[in-house]
């Protein structure tokens, strides 16, 4: 916790007469504890938000009995899960079986270290922060393989394969989307990346120089990849309860299952937070230079905003199949992003002024958005026809056409 806030705290403690070394150590302890407690409390809130949003989309009310607005429902559920009997399959591999949920949560909790919550409010501003997040994702993959194998259940094992296929596939476009930003800024520090998204007008920082405005294509690809990495709808084919049995954690019960659950919710929020930092300015916003605490507010607004969009998609989109999932990653997103990065690298070396480079990069990104939207639109139109055909009377097969957009039927 080097920086403004740690200095503030240790300076205040030193003012009280505490020796400097102890004051600094206390500041570290406070920072570490805050980060440690932050994640589980956040998870309680996230689960509540998900349940409320999905309920509203489905025209229900959602949890409303425990606490105000049902806020404490998740606490009650967690207590129930904690008090459950710890069941373990007889032929399961003890060490691997028990290590896997821990590793799963570990891989997500470690992300909190590099997330810039506000100006100077960051655990460690690693010089390879962006890569660090991607590397932690691969630790999560190992956790899924371990869970699938150690359960000694063929369905869990196959589900583990599915997880690995999806996470490895979408890691590639995700990294390429990040590379677009890193190529432009020349830094991999999250703190620096957020600081670079300021917009100075007449010496006043408006805080709206978001990379999302400059690179909508990279933003869209990162968003899709983040959906897949967080195992959110429409990429939640990894754990379709009724069709495929739950997934790699089928043999887990009680608190161990809750740990996978926790890891998944936290992962989607953290990926949203990373997206907000990379493309939506992080803690940048108007008046953030004058009132630093406003940066924290902006950051949480953006991160929760992205999370709400994820839940909105979760409530409204149908799930895709595994062949469609790999098709989108390898035949649409990866070639597009490789092309985009090549084009961007050439543009950045062109002997034209900065404004012309902005315009060219923006145009290239718009082209990427157009292609991705076209591919997704084609897919959903095809699915619409297919799902309608399934309910057609036999005599009318092939004669029905999907309704035009906006027509009620």
């Amino acid at each position: 916790m080097r920086g403004y806030w740690a200095d503030l705290l240790s300076g205040w403690l030193a003012g009280l007469g505490v020796p400097e070394g102890i004051a600094l150590a206390l500041a570290y302890v406070v920072g570490g504890t805050v980060l440690l407690i932050f994640a589980p409390v956040l998870a309680l809130l996230l689960i509540w938000i998900t349940r409320k949003v999905i309920s509203r989309i489905q025209d229900r009310i959602g949890p409303n009995r425990v606490g105000p607005y049902g806020l404490l429902q998740t606490v009650a559920d967690a207590l129930k899960l904690l008090s459950k009997e710890d069941i373990m399959p007889a032929k399961a591999d003890w060490t691997t079986y028990n290590l896997s949920p821990i590793l799963s949560v570990f891989s997500v909790l470690m992300i909190v270290v590099v997330v810039p919550f506000g100006p100077g409010l960051i655990g460690v501003d690693l010089n390879v922060g962006v890569l660090y997040v991607v590397a932690l994702g691969s630790v999560g993959i190992m956790a899924a393989i371990m869970a699938g194998w150690a359960s000694n259940n063929k369905y869990a094992l196959v589900a583990g394969f599915r997880v690995v296929a999806q996470l490895i596939s979408y890691e590639v476009p995700m990294v390429l989307a990040i590379v677009a930003v890193v190529l432009w800024t020349g830094t991999m520090r999250f703190g620096e990346l957020a600081a670079r998204q300021s917009l100075e007008i007449f010496g006043f920082n408006l805080g709206l120089g978001w990379f999302g405005f400059l690179m909508p294509g990279a933003l869209l690809v990162f968003f899709i990849a983040a959906l897949a990495e967080a195992e959110q709808t429409p990429f939640d084919l990894l754990e379709a309860e009724s069709e495929l049995i739950a997934g790699f954690h089928i043999e887990y019960s009680g608190m161990k299952f809750a740990m996978f659950f926790l890891a998944q919710f936290l992962n989607s929020w953290f990926l949203g937070a990373i997206l907000a930092t990379l493309f939506l300015g992080g803690w940048q916003g108007p008046f953030v230079d004058q009132v630093p605490i406003l940066g924290v507010v902006y950051f949480f607004l953006k991160a929760f905003g992205v999370y709400l969009v994820l839940q909105w998609i979760k409530g409204t989109y149908p799930r895709i199949r595994i062949d469609q999932m790999t098709h989108l990653a390898w035949k649409v997103l990866v070639p597009l992003m490789v092309l985009l990065i090549t084009v961007q690298a050439i543009i950045q070396k062109l002997p034209v002024g900065a404004p012309a480079q902005y315009v060219l990069i923006f145009l290239a990104n718009v082209a990427v958005v157009a292609v991705v939207v076209q591919a997704l639109g084609n897919y959903y139109r095809r699915e619409e026809v297919r799902s309608k055909r399934a309910f057609e009377p036999r005599g009318l097969v092939g004669s029905m056409v999907p309704a035009e957009k906006g027509v009620m039927y």
Partner: protein, 173 residues
Amino acid sequence: MPTLPVPTFTQVVFVLIAAFTVISGLGVVVARNLFHSALLLAATFFGVAGLYVMLEAEFLAVTQILIYVGAVATLITFAIMLTRGAMHGETNPLNRQWGKAALFAFLFLVGLLGYLGGIPWPAPFQAIQADEGLIARLGEQLVTRYMVSLEVMGLLLMVALVGAILLARDDKP
């Protein structure tokens, strides 16, 4: 009475990480189950990444986890899991020759130490600041001085990819 040198915090951490690496590396060899060996190999990669962090080579450490844990270990576990009958129980064949193997491994270590002791290592004459500049220089070296090796590696991976697809194809031409 000779005073014992008090180890610094860095040294303690180094010994812990090194011990973790060595023990999990030993575990790869002595584990009775092939899958455990693979997981312990991933743990060894982790330990090596930790050593890189101790050397303040963060980029190398993160790349190590990304490539070795994320790709190589995953690939190995996949290969093991797709092999029938190598899943559970004691799958690693053992024999009674561990004594000879240990002897030869020890002799190899002695030879290696003798060789390494003879190399005139360049003394670190300047502190290297690990920051973006270092990573940028690394990238520059990769596309200038080591360009041929980089391209050859890329070609090799491409050939492996094409070969894998050719093997997995249903309709043989």
